[in-house]
Symmetry: C2
Subunit: 364 residues, 2 copies
């Protein structure tokens, strides 16, 4: 495998695509491919399914860029970055079941192809492979740093499952009385940790794989690691709100998921929270009654009506404003954290900043 991580390209999408290809190769080369036992062959095929569907490679790329920005060797971050993509793959298998999602990246969700039972098991098998892949770090990075990275994955998984639990509890508890702070806590745990906080923290950790301090590394790593939590929280909130807005407004062919799918799922978003608090009691009850129906009972026209109400009540504009506020704060924190690095590695700094802006302003 030729290791050519494009982090200084002017073309952000090309860089993401080229990194993503490397991550996918790393993952797919690591995963088992063939066996003589046909039932186990099916498991291997299922495990390779989501990792073969592509994706943007945002999390892995963030990890590489942060490693480079703090004067690390990005080659040392490749396995960890790939494991971040693998994390997303296995957890999406389970999330798609839990959320009753039908599509994933323009194809049927795994459990729609193979059933819930086999898909839970395939998710567990892939989850195990994530830890196993991370264990291969030891040779290149040594035992200490390998264990530190495992610790980060462990924290990330705690946060992600707590966030998922919050959202699922609202759905299954038929709870529509969610305020914005509940929503922000859920999003921080469910999305910000694994999309933003953990990848950047790991990149920073991986920059320190040489003993002794090095020019351009964070002066006080644990202090910086805490700041990254703050930065990544704001970035992740902005990212998720933009993603939720896209679910209502994007071009379906580019987006790869069902448009209005979140309304069918009854997903609590900031637009919905805003809409519900903007409506009169009678109308609010009506909207809740429509959303609370089982998915298969929901009619397209009703979902479109809710979308129209969101537009009329400027709920989508409001969501975009909240996203902007968090995105601006994230950028300020980013510049604070990377003040020295922006001078030492101006190209990597620009590239990273461009990616952060893309994450909070993309249109698909």
């Amino acid at each position: 495998m030729k290791l050519e991580l494009k982090t200084d390209s002017q073309d952000l999408l090309e860089m993401l695509q080229s990194n993503k290809k490397l991550f996918d190769e790393t993952v797919l080369e690591f995963l088992p491919r063939t066996t003589d036992t046909k039932e186990i062959q099916l498991l291997y095929n299922m495990m390779r399914d989501y990792p073969s569907r592509g994706g943007k490679g945002i999390r892995g790329t963030l990890c590489l860029l942060w490693c480079e920005l703090f004067s690390g060797n990005k080659t040392n971050a490749l396995v960890t970055a790939s494991a971040l993509e693998l994390f997303q793959n296995w957890i999406l298998i389970h999330d798609d079941i839990e959320d009753h999602s039908e599509m994933r990246r323009n194809l049927p969700a795994l459990h729609k192809k193979f059933g819930v039972e086999l898909s839970i098991n395939a998710g567990d098998a892939l989850h195990g492979k994530m830890w196993e892949l991370l264990l291969t770090n030891a040779e290149l990075l040594g035992s200490e740093l390998t264990l530190n990275i495992l610790q980060e994955f462990s924290r990330m998984l705690n946060e992600t499952t707590e966030g998922q639990q919050m959202e699922l509890s609202w759905n299954f508890g038929n709870n529509w009385d969610i305020d914005e702070s509940d929503y922000l806590l859920m999003v921080t745990k469910k999305a910000a940790w694994y999309t933003c906080i953990a990848p950047c923290r790991m990149g920073l950790l991986l920059s320190r794989n040489t003993t002794g301090s090095k020019h351009g590394q964070a002066p006080d790593p644990s202090h910086t690691m805490n700041k990254v939590v703050d930065f990544g929280t704001n970035l992740g909130i902005a990212f998720q709100i933009v993603d939720d807005v896209l679910n209502l407004t994007a071009d379906e062919s580019k987006y790869g998921k069902e448009i209005l799918g979140d309304l069918y799922e009854g997903k609590r978003t900031i637009m919905l929270i805003h809409l519900l608090r903007s409506l009169e009691t009678t109308e609010r009850k009506k909207v809740i009654a429509l959303l609370a129906q089982p998915r298969e009972a929901k009619r397209v026209d009703d979902m479109k009506l809710i979308f129209r109400l969101m537009t009329d009540n400027r709920s989508i504009d409001y969501a975009r404003q909240v996203a902007s506020k968090h995105s601006e704060l994230a950028m300020e924190l980013f510049d604070d954290i990377t003040a020295e690095q922006s001078r030492l590695h101006p190209r990597v700094y620009d590239q990273t900043r461009y990616l952060l802006e893309y994450l909070t302003s993309r249109d698909y």
Copy 2:
């Protein structure tokens, strides 16, 4: 916590119980208990549910005993032994969903209490905690051995998910044409690895946490580690067959699961494989038709009829014979592996041997 591992008690069940209490305390002290966010509190309660239901502590105890038998300090094995119990807890949450099981240790299965969606997520959260618990080994055991143990867990999870996949594929593929070698491969992967092979291998590994060779340790650890796979495979096969026989014949109040539950699940057991190959075509087709019905359509009388056919065709006797054969082979391999240790640590040796005999001859 007072560390008093009873491995030299004459009373095997008392030893198991007392070890299990220690493992459960270790796990429950490690798992998060309270939080201000009520949705996350529910997650914590769900994560603590199976670990609070007790169990026999076989896997953890095997790990302790093997560590001691090879002159290790069993205190060093406590976290790993507890993580083995935790492994069982999280994977049973998922298995119970996949197998449509209704009961677990005399109580409703987790997904019967909280629904499938939240239970998948709680299983993932608990799975994450298993790795996190294993990371705490580093302080006591050092980085190297900690990573070796993680590698063992990773292998164990690969095997277990492959075995589960085989069994689930038969169930959902309506495949009744299973021969005994398919069954034995499935059982080796699904049961023998995590019940027998991995606990003993880990105990052996943990006995070597001091540098340099020590009197009474395995002379060639990698050679011995391979022999343990062979030993544990035979032990695990015997254990699983005994377990399957108990599912048909045990006293329900002691057993803690549904009697004849395996017939309702359509589980492929060695008794069933024997029965199907013993019957005439017409009768075989009739039995398969009864077993292939959806669980909720199955009638008690039909399941009892199949049980009677198994008795009449001596399928249960046959299963017991196969179990005996594997159990005897396991004992021979055990004596071969532990020839030196049996002289050095006769009490631990006796205790371990007694446990192995219990595993393959218990009546509940």
